[in-house]
C-alpha cells in the first residue's frame, strides 16, 4: 500500500527507527539462514522427496497468519475495553490483519503448490483447506469494513467488533482436521515427527517470519497513523473552502 503520508509536507518523519532497522536486518539474516537450511542443508523427506522443503515457508506463514489474526483480536479488545480509546490499538489491529491476510495468502499458495506435488491436485475440499479459505475471506471482509468510511472512531469500533468475532475462526481452522474429513497433515511438528535438521530448519523459518512480521507491523502501523493525519489535513482544506462559501453568501 502506498501512503500519501510519506509524501505529505506535514509528516516528513520516516517510519523507521534504529530498532526497526536492526529488526529488519535480523529478519533478512533469518531469511538468509532459512534459504541455506531449507534448500540445502536439510535432508529430503522419505515420502515427499524435495517437496518437503515447501514446508519451511508453508508452515511458518500459516502460523504467523494465526498470530497476526490473534494480535488483531487482542488489539481490538484493547481498543474497545480500555478507557483511553486510543486509535493506536485500532491501527495495530488493522496493520496486523493486513499482514495476516498476506501470510495466509502465502500459506494458501504454497499449500496448493505442495498439494500438486504430494496429492496430485492444487485444491481439494479437505476440512483444513476449506476452513483456511474461509478464514482468508473473512479477513478480506474485515479489511473491506475498515474502508467503509465514517470517523476514525466509528471505523475503529466497527472493525474491532468484527475482529473479536472473526478471531474465533482460528481455532476452528486449527482443530478442523481433528473433526472431520482430514486429508491434510495432522499435528506433525508438535508430535515431533520431524528429524532434527528438518525441525531446526522449520524453526529457523518460524523465527525469520516472526521477525519479518514484527518489522512489517511496526512500519505499517506508523504508515496508517500518518494516513489518518493526512485525512485530517485534507479536512482542514475542505473546511477552509466550505467557510469561504459562507463568506461569499455573506457579502
Amino acid at each position: 500500500m502506498n501512503s500519501p503520508a510519506t509524501t505529505s509536507s506535514a509528516s516528513k518523519r520516516p517510519t523507521g527507527t534504529p530498532f526497526t532497522r536492526a529488526l529488519g536486518i535480523a529478519a533478512l539474516v533469518g531469511i538468509g539462514w532459512l534459504v541455506v537450511f531449507g534448500l540445502f542443508l536439510s535432508p529430503n523427506d522419505r515420502v515427499q522427496k524435495k517437496g518437503v522443503r515447501i514446508m519451511y515457508i508453508h508452515v511458518p506463514s500459516a502460523w504467523l497468519a494465526y498470530l497476526a489474526f490473534i494480535v488483531t483480536g487482542i488489539a481490538s479488545a484493547a481498543y474497545l475495553f480500555k478507557k483511553t480509546r486510543s486509535l493506536t490499538w485500532d491501527r495495530i489491529a488493522g496493520a496486523s490483519a493486513e499482514i495476516g491476510v498476506l501470510f495466509m495468502g502465502i500459506a494458501l499458495v504454497t499449500g496448493s503448490l505442495w498439494g500438486r506435488i504430494s496429492w496430485g491436485t492444487y485444491w481439494t475440499w479437505d476440512s483444513r483447506l476449506t476452513t483456511t479459505a474461509f478464514l482468508f475471506v473473512t479477513y478480506i471482509g474485515y479489511l473491506a469494513v475498515r474502508d467503509l468510511g465514517g470517523t476514525h472512531h466509528q471505523r475503529a469500533r466497527r472493525s474491532a467488533i468484527l475482529a473479536l468475532l472473526a478471531v474465533f475462526e482460528v481455532p476452528l481452522v486449527h482443530f478442523s482436521v481433528k473433526w472431520w474429513r482430514p486429508l491434510h497433515q495432522q499435528e506433525t511438528v508438535a508430535e515431533g515427527k520431524l528429524n532434527g535438521l528438518m525441525l531446526f530448519s522449520l524453526f529457523t523459518g518460524i523465527v525469520a517470519f516472526t521477525l519479518l512480521y514484527v518489522w512489517l507491523l511496526l512500519h505499517r502501523q506508523r504508515v496508517l497513523a500518518m494516513e489518518d493525519t493526512v485525512d485530517d489535513q485534507g479536512l482542514d482544506l475542505a473546511l477552509a473552502e466550505r467557510r469561504a462559501e459562507a463568506q461569499e453568501v455573506g457579502s
Binding site: 476440512s127 467503509l148 467488533i161 474465533f168
Partner: protein, 227 residues
C-alpha cells in the same frame, strides 16, 4: 424502557409487516422451494441426490437467509426508519434481539418447507432415533443463523455501498453452520451410514456459534448500525 420490551415490539412489528406484505410467503418460500427443485434438476444423477440431500437443504437455507436478511433491512432503510429507530432511543440491543427473533421465526418456517421438499424430492428418510437430534440441529442452527444474519445485515444496511458486503461478510462466517448442520443432519438421517451419536458434537459447535453471535450482537449492534 427495557431492551426486552423493545425486542418484543420490534419482533411483533416485523412479523406484522410480513403478515401484511407476505413477501416471505410469496417470494422467499417459493424461491427456496424452487432452489430445491433446481438442485434436483441440475443433479438428477442416480444416487447422488440422496447422498448430498442434507448439504443441499442447508445450502438452500443459506441462500434464502440472504434474501430474508436483505428484506429484513430493506424495510428499515426504505423510508429512513432505521434512523427513526435510533432516534427513538430504541436500545440497539433490543433492535437486534427483536429482528433476530422475527428472522428466526421466518427461518424456522422456511426450513420446515425445505426439509419437506428434501423428503419428497430427494427421498430422504427420517429414522425415529434421529428425530431428537434433527430437532436439536434445527433449533441450534436457526438461532445461530438468525443472529449472524441480523448482525451483518445491520452492518450492511447502513450507508451506501455497504449492501455489497452482505454476502462477502456472511457466507464465510456461516460456513461453520453449514458444515455443522450438514453433518448433524446426516447423522440424524443416517446418510452414508452415519449414526446419531456422531451428531451431538456438531450440535455443540452450533450452540457455541449461536451463543457467540447472540452475545456479540446484543452488545455491539449499536456501534455497527450507526453510520
Amino acid at each position: 424502557m427495557s431492551s426486552w420490551r423493545i425486542a418484543r415490539l420490534v419482533a411483533a412489528k416485523d412479523l406484522r409487516i410480513e403478515l401484511r406484505s407476505r413477501v416471505v410467503t410469496n417470494q422467499v418460500l417459493p424461491f427456496a422451494a424452487l432452489v430445491m427443485v433446481m438442485f434436483a434438476f441440475a443433479l438428477d444423477n442416480d444416487n447422488v441426490l440422496t447422498r448430498v440431500a442434507p448439504g443441499l437443504v442447508w445450502l438452500a437455507t443459506l441462500f434464502s437467509l440472504l434474501v430474508l436478511v436483505q428484506r429484513a433491512f430493506a424495510v428499515e432503510t426504505a423510508d429512513g426508519a432505521l434512523d427513526a429507530l435510533q432516534v427513538a432511543g430504541v436500545r440497539a440491543g433490543g433492535i437486534f434481539l427483536g429482528k433476530s427473533m422475527a428472522l428466526a421465526a421466518q427461518l424456522a418456517v422456511l426450513e420446515l418447507v425445505l426439509l419437506g421438499a428434501a423428503v419428497v424430492l430427494y427421498k430422504a428418510e427420517v429414522p425415529a432415533n434421529g428425530v431428537i437430534l434433527l430437532i436439536a440441529t434445527y433449533v441450534a442452527a436457526t438461532t445461530g443463523l438468525a443472529f449472524v444474519g441480523t448482525l451483518y445485515g445491520g452492518l450492511a444496511a447502513g450507508a451506501k455501498g455497504r449492501e455489497t458486503l452482505l454476502p462477502l461478510l456472511m457466507l464465510p462466517v456461516v460456513a461453520p453452520v453449514l458444515i455443522g448442520a450438514t453433518r448433524a443432519t446426516e447423522a440424524a438421517l443416517g446418510t452414508n451410514g452415519a449414526s446419531p451419536s456422531e451428531g451431538w458434537p456438531w450440535i455443540g459447535l452450533l450452540t457455541l456459534f449461536a451463543a457467540l453471535f447472540g452475545a456479540g450482537g446484543t452488545l455491539a449492534f449499536g456501534s455497527l448500525i450507526d453510520e
